[in-house]
């Protein structure tokens, strides 16, 4: 029932999944930035639809959310944004549940999902929607053929992990460490344990939270990840460009350049695990 674009993106080698907040710092620049990521080698792009209370985000993405909201981003504008994008990779909408719930004339997730399908989105990541509360959204995704990505935290184990894996589609977002989003200089040892726990489940595992450089990406993928998710390191580039008043083209080039580095890192890491390169 699910969209197969996402699984496909992980099919041949490690997937590079960058994140940007749509409309940060303004609608037109943001279009350019997302397109730059695609040029830089993105296999999937997570597009943030900003919510006023982003409880799962660290300071970098909180600031991006504020910039985007202040520039006038709304769910309706977000769908226009997706339509206006000229990219050839699957897009995942990352947002909070209240925006999904409130969209359209009736309450509940269905109108939002319908519209997302219309504009060509492939799936959702909803950080404040654990598997226990996800059935209505899961049903709407099934109805309209979209994927629902769940986040697996270092603390997710046992029954809860099973419940989530029964509902997930597209890929799982493996949270590399506790806490909120944000680029870090270290990569947590918790990642390996999480990947071990997930080994038995047949779904692509993309690791996020804290990845900042090609070297990080390399180590993560060498450690067994099927993909990497990178947000804050990219959003930092947008924020810096905005503060310094750099033109959008310059910022886009920087994004593309970091994207290439990350993608290359991921591929190096994949090469290192040649012995088990075949996916189980």
């Amino acid at each position: 029932m699910a969209n197969d674009a996402l699984e496909a993106a992980f099919a041949d080698g490690p997937a590079f999944v960058p994140y940007l907040a749509a409309g940060d710092p303004d609608y037109d620049s943001s279009l350019e930035y997302v397109e730059a990521l695609a040029r830089g080698g993105a296999d999937v792009i997570e597009l943030g639809l900003p919510f006023s209370e982003p409880v799962a985000e660290g300071p970098t993405i909180q600031d991006a959310v504020v910039r985007s909201l202040e520039a006038g981003m709304t769910p309706a504008r977000f769908f226009e944004f997706v339509e206006d994008l000229d990219v050839d990779v699957p897009l995942v909408c990352m947002t909070y549940y209240n925006l999904i719930y409130q969209y359209g004339d009736e309450q509940g997730p269905r109108p939002f999902v319908e519209k997302a399908a219309d504009v060509g989105l492939s799936g959702f990541v909803v950080p404040d929607l654990p598997a226990e509360e996800a059935d209505p959204l899961r049903e709407a995704c099934d109805e309209f053929g979209l994927d629902l990505v769940f986040i697996v935290a270092p603390t997710t184990r046992g029954d809860r992990l099973d419940r989530m894996m029964q509902r997930v589609s597209g890929y799982v977002y493996v949270q590399a460490r506790l806490g909120v989003t944000g680029a870090r200089d270290d990569v947590s040892g918790q990642t390996e344990q999480s990947l071990d726990r997930l080994e038995a489940y047949d779904v692509p595992k993309a690791v996020g939270f804290g990845i900042k450089t090609g070297d990080h990406a390399e180590r993560i993928v060498a450690g067994g990840a099927d993909g990497i998710i990178v947000g804050s390191a990219l959003v930092d580039i947008v924020a810096e460009g905005h503060e310094n008043g750099d033109d959008a083209e310059t910022v886009a080039e920087r994004l593309e350049s970091l994207a290439r580095e990350l993608k290359a890192g991921a591929e190096r890491g994949f090469a290192q695990r040649a012995p088990q390169a075949e996916r189980t």
Binding site: S52, A56, Q62, Q102, P130, A153, T155, G179
Partner: protein
């Protein structure tokens, strides 16, 4: 973990195990009194907190309204408000759970000071998140928390008020969930918080119900409590919910007006029950002040303790079920009621609680012969606000404020 369609657990995955652990602890320690938890809690509430608080017959208000008005004196609890009931319960529970650290959010500082007191009392390190704007406006409360040994961490994102402080505390919890307990300040948040905070606060109505029986040989016709997040409200109502003859009135902050500015994302009130729409905020489905898209609005009240865009899910449910009547009064009426109670009863109420008295003033004829008002806190913390807000208005019963123009 649901109250009708409200409630639930809408939180980041990283917190789910902690919430499961907390639910388990809640069921064992709070509901089943394992290891004598509730006995210890009640003992500490008595010896450290000063419970039971009295239920007082208010002679002059009774005369004014031609009915018997009783006050549940939560203003006399240690710290000056009902907040300690919950803070002490949760910090103690964290100790039973083996946690080593407490985090809490605070708006105006009442829940933060209560948590800091409880944490000092129980020797738990405590960090309180507080919006930068609130820190600047409530410096005495910041100082009190620091005196009690708590860290107070400014939240600079967004508008720097309660909403942002809650979000930031959730982030800390998500980061440090293994050794840290988040002491949420009201009957809000994901399950089990709304039920657990209600249970800690229900000592208010448990005592009041018994005290009313002693004083009047019966139950009150009405119970009135102000409602922001709703912890004093649920505390005051909980034990009366089963008494069908008792009317329950949740008085929200009508602020300047009940209208809403969708464009600016601002609601000039905090009346989530009266004017809000169902949605998901801070971990629970409930009534929320939000714009058409679902973005949370900035709320407003003359009383910073009521100034929150959400409300407890159980209270939303009880209103839908018509067991609780959601009403509201505006800033002017609340401020006038503040002055009236100060002058006629010798009790300076919190501006929050003044809302309940304003409703009594306006609707006493409909409330029956015996009315219990939850006096949820004292007003010492509000003196600066009262000066500022009284100056703006023409309140004929206010004392001459000339000497205090511009604050202390």
């Amino acid at each position: 973990g649901k109250f009708g369609e409200y409630g639930g657990q809408y939180v980041p995955e990283a917190l789910m195990p902690a919430i499961a652990e907390l639910t388990d602890a809640y069921e064992r320690y709070v509901l089943e009194n394992e290891d004598g938890f509730m006995d210890e809690f009640r003992r500490r509430l008595r010896d450290f907190g000063g419970r039971p608080t009295p239920t007082q017959h208010a002679e002059r208000l009774s005369e004014r309204y031609g009915c018997d008005v009783y006050l549940k004196r939560e203003d006399l609890l240690h710290g000056g408000a009902h907040k300690l009931n919950n803070a002490l319960g949760q910090v103690l529970l964290a100790k039973y759970m083996g946690k080593e650290r407490i985090v809490a959010e605070t708006g105006a500082g009442q829940h933060g000071t209560a948590t800091a007191m409880a944490a000092a009392h129980l020797d738990m390190p405590c960090e309180v998140y507080m919006g930068r704007r609130d820190i600047n406006r409530q410096r005495p409360n910041v100082f009190r928390m620091r005196l009690n040994g708590s860290e107070v961490t400014p939240v600079t994102v967004g508008r720097g008020t309660l909403k942002e402080a809650i979000s930031e505390t959730m982030r800390d919890w998500a980061t440090n969930v293994e050794d840290t307990h988040y002491v949420i300040g009201s009957v809000v948040g994901p399950h089990p918080f709304p039920a657990m905070v209600r249970d800690f606060q229900s000592v208010i109505s448990e005592e009041a119900r018994e005290q009313m029986r002693e004083k009047t040989d019966g139950l009150p016709d009405s119970v009135i409590a102000c409602a922001g997040g709703g912890s004093n409200t649920m505390g005051a109502f909980a034990e009366f919910v089963g008494d069908e003859s008792v009317g329950l009135y949740a008085v929200e902050a009508g602020g300047d007006s009940l209208s809403v500015d969708e464009e600016a994302g601002v609601a000039p009130n905090s009346a989530s029950l009266s004017t809000g729409r169902e949605g998901v905020l801070h971990g629970a489905r409930t009534k929320i002040l939000q714009d058409r898209d679902g973005q949370i609005m900035e709320s407003h009240s003359v009383s910073s303790g009521l100034d929150y865009a959400g409300v407890g899910p159980e209270l939303a449910h009880l209103v839908d079920e018509t067991r609780v009547t959601a009403v509201n009064v505006d800033d002017d009426a609340a401020l006038t009621a503040f002055h009236r109670l100060s002058q006629t009863e010798g009790i300076i109420p919190a501006l929050e609680s003044a809302h309940a008295f304003a409703y009594l003033e306006e609707h006493h004829e409909e409330l029956g012969d015996s009315v219990l008002v939850n006096l949820s806190g004292r007003g010492d913390k509000d003196l600066e606000s009262v000066i500022e807000e009284t100056e703006k208005r023409d309140i004929d019963i206010a004392p001459d404020m000339t000497e205090f123009a511009g604050g202390f």
